[in-house]
Symmetry: C2
Subunit: 394 residues, 2 copies
């Protein structure tokens, strides 16, 4: 059994969505395929994955550095000892050859796409949904049947911002979501408070509404918002300052009584260790949003979870960034606290097929082998472009 | 005045050098050119720079993200208010459009190459060495006439390692260097101690010899080496553990009395703030090796120096990684503590032209405008490949 090809396709995100910091209109994502020489029904078994959502495709690092190293590798350097599956850790070891420590940015996302495609490939070789492959590999006795997903969005509108925010969240409620997340920091505190109050009319109470500053605030602004939103008892207050400003996070955690969420822009276990040590995170309360698809894949993500538990945090405090099928399987397989969903945006990668949405704010996996990306209608065209053999008639 | 072209050439490093972690045989560097519409002697004035040494070329991020944004920009979005030079901060603002915070890896090096080329271009427009342009921009009254450079190397050899290390350092001494840096961590502690003692026979005393573990050690190993090398009173003990393991660094700084050097694998001011707050660095003693060419350029590097001074450190404690002409001008212009040199390796980018080496372990700039890259013989071919007009007869 061997890998016969590794491919990449940079796919533009659809739609024109902006948060407080960036517009996603130019963002793209690397869809990757790891093609094995195993044939099923006359077609090769192919692992598919992508580098999550919200940063950029990584064609350069993949094609100039990582894929050539994998192509040059011996089969034994990539296969598990039993020869029946590929070893994600070995694949990362080969893909990262001669990369120096530190600098966990674009490279971490490039490597993650390949590593996750190996998990998809292994699950397909075992003819099972990836959540089962993941649970078994990490020594977990059970796969969670469903996960909690909240609807993220809550954008700014040029006019009638509060009224249109209520309309937006009402649409998400009609899709079966019961918890919501909205952007803050793109307007004045007074205007944001009015938007929060409007959103609460749909959410029902603070426990169903999170707010996300996308790393925009300095300490003073972050503290002003903390004081102003405290009475609402919100679900959480997300990414208040620069993602690496652990001292700022600690100072706000000292005065803000509710949950603080952060971590989606930390891409290594080394960074997460610093977050756990220095950012004032509170056991049993705060949330961690690291995303395997931006962080060298599931192996490194598992090390992040180990660090969390070593420092007294619980895995239900892990709520990955990136609402898509890959993170659904990771949350179910590892028993994490849930995931986000951006209904209707970040296509073709974002969200879950209709068969996964079961109402009550909960999502399940289907029985498709692997991550089930082939079952997502929006992904059919890019997958067919990258791997025509998948949908070919044989 | 406007920018009419931005170009990149990925150039492979020559030689086959390895440290304790990586081989540099596969490493390459992005040489970039920013071509203006200003003509001098019938040729366009062109800014040249590269993304330092020791990580990788960044063709993908440059060509897919940063250069297209610069090409699409209005001239006024890149020019200084007086219209007589380009504004490096504005160029970074445009080049980083829609990039999210955090993830300071490959992107930081890609952006740095372009930003530094703007400094080279501005110096050439002013017809002065870049160290003068830099000193003036940062409000410094004087440019240092020379800087201290130490000879880095001290590799492992398959046999007779200690004897060949002495030979290697003797060659550097004959080139005029008086201080040296050697690798540790690629052999047992006992063997490394024998190599250190051999090296001290050439260096004369510990003050002239630094050791570099290249981020290889865990806490226990780092502490063992700290205890064993303490009696030698070495120049410094460099990059002991993972570059982001600030807690490890702090624990070793608590027991190791000599200087500790680190920072070459931190690529943002946000990371440096954490280093200064959490790594136990000691005022007036420890050294910081951040490198503008890997860190978004001189603007971000200046913010790192500001943070150092805000936290009670002095700028002579800044000793940039990357021994080459660009960092020579930065050290002279900003009054820093010196720089490294890797005599004979990391070509064509590493080192200084013969006219710069003045003996006594000191290096000066020439009077060439800009960084003077065109005066370095090894760079002539790659520069001619990227910009044939520079050496053309008109």
């Amino acid at each position: 059994m061997k890998i016969v090809d590794v491919r990449e396709l940079s796919v533009r995100l659809e739609g024109d969505v902006a948060n407080a910091v960036v517009s996603f209109a130019e963002h793209d994502v690397s869809l990757v395929a790891v093609v094995s020489d195993v044939l099923r029904n006359g077609k090769p078994v192919i692992g598919l994955a992508f580098n999550s959502i919200g940063r950029f495709a990584q064609r350069g690092i993949l094609c100039d550095r990582i894929i050539p190293r994998l192509r040059a590798a011996q089969t034994k350097d990539l296969l598990a000892d039993d020869g029946r599956r590929f070893d994600p850790a070995k694949v990362v070891h080969v893909g990262m050859r001669n990369e120096k420590p530190g600098g966990h940015g674009d490279r971490a996302a490039a490597m993650a796409a390949i590593e996750l495609a190996i998990w998809d490939l292994n699950a397909k070789l075992g003819d099972e949904p990836a959540c089962h492959t993941i649970a078994q590999a990490f020594g977990r006795a059970e796969v969670a049947p469903t996960m909690t997903a909240y609807a993220a969005g809550g954008y700014y509108y040029p006019s009638q911002s509060a009224a249109r925010l209520k309309e937006e969240f009402s649409r998400y409620r009609d899709l079966g979501f019961t918890a919501f997340k909205m952007k803050i920091g793109g307007a004045s505190l007074a205007e944001d408070l009015a938007r929060i109050e409007a959103a609460l009319e749909v959410a029902g109470n603070g426990e169903n509404l999170a707010v996300d500053a996308n790393g925009r605030f300095d300490l003073e602004t972050g503290l002003s918002y903390a004081r102003a939103i405290s009475p609402h008892g919100l679900r959480w207050y997300e990414e208040i300052g620069d993602p690496l400003d652990f001292d700022l996070n600690r100072r706000i955690a000292e005065v803000y009584p509710g949950a603080i969420a952060t971590g989606e822009n930390l891409f290594s276990a080394a960074d997460v260790k610093n977050l756990l040590l220095f950012a004032g995170a509170r056991r049993g309360l705060d949330l961690f949003q690291m995303d395997a698809g931006l962080s060298y894949g599931l192996g490194e993500y598992g090390r992040m979870l180990d660090l969390m538990e070593e420092h007294g945090f619980e895995r239900h405090q892990a709520v990955p960034h990136g609402g898509h099928l890959i993170n659904l399987h990771i949350v179910l397989g590892l028993g994490l606290g849930g995931c986000e969903a951006y209904p209707g945006v970040f296509q073709p990668f974002g969200g879950y097929p209709l068969a996964c949405l079961i109402g009550g704010g909960r999502v399940r996996a289907t029985q498709a082998p692997g991550f089930g990306l082939e079952e997502k209608p929006e992904l059919r065209d890019p997958i067919a472009c990258l791997c025509p053999e998948i949908f070919a008639h044989v």
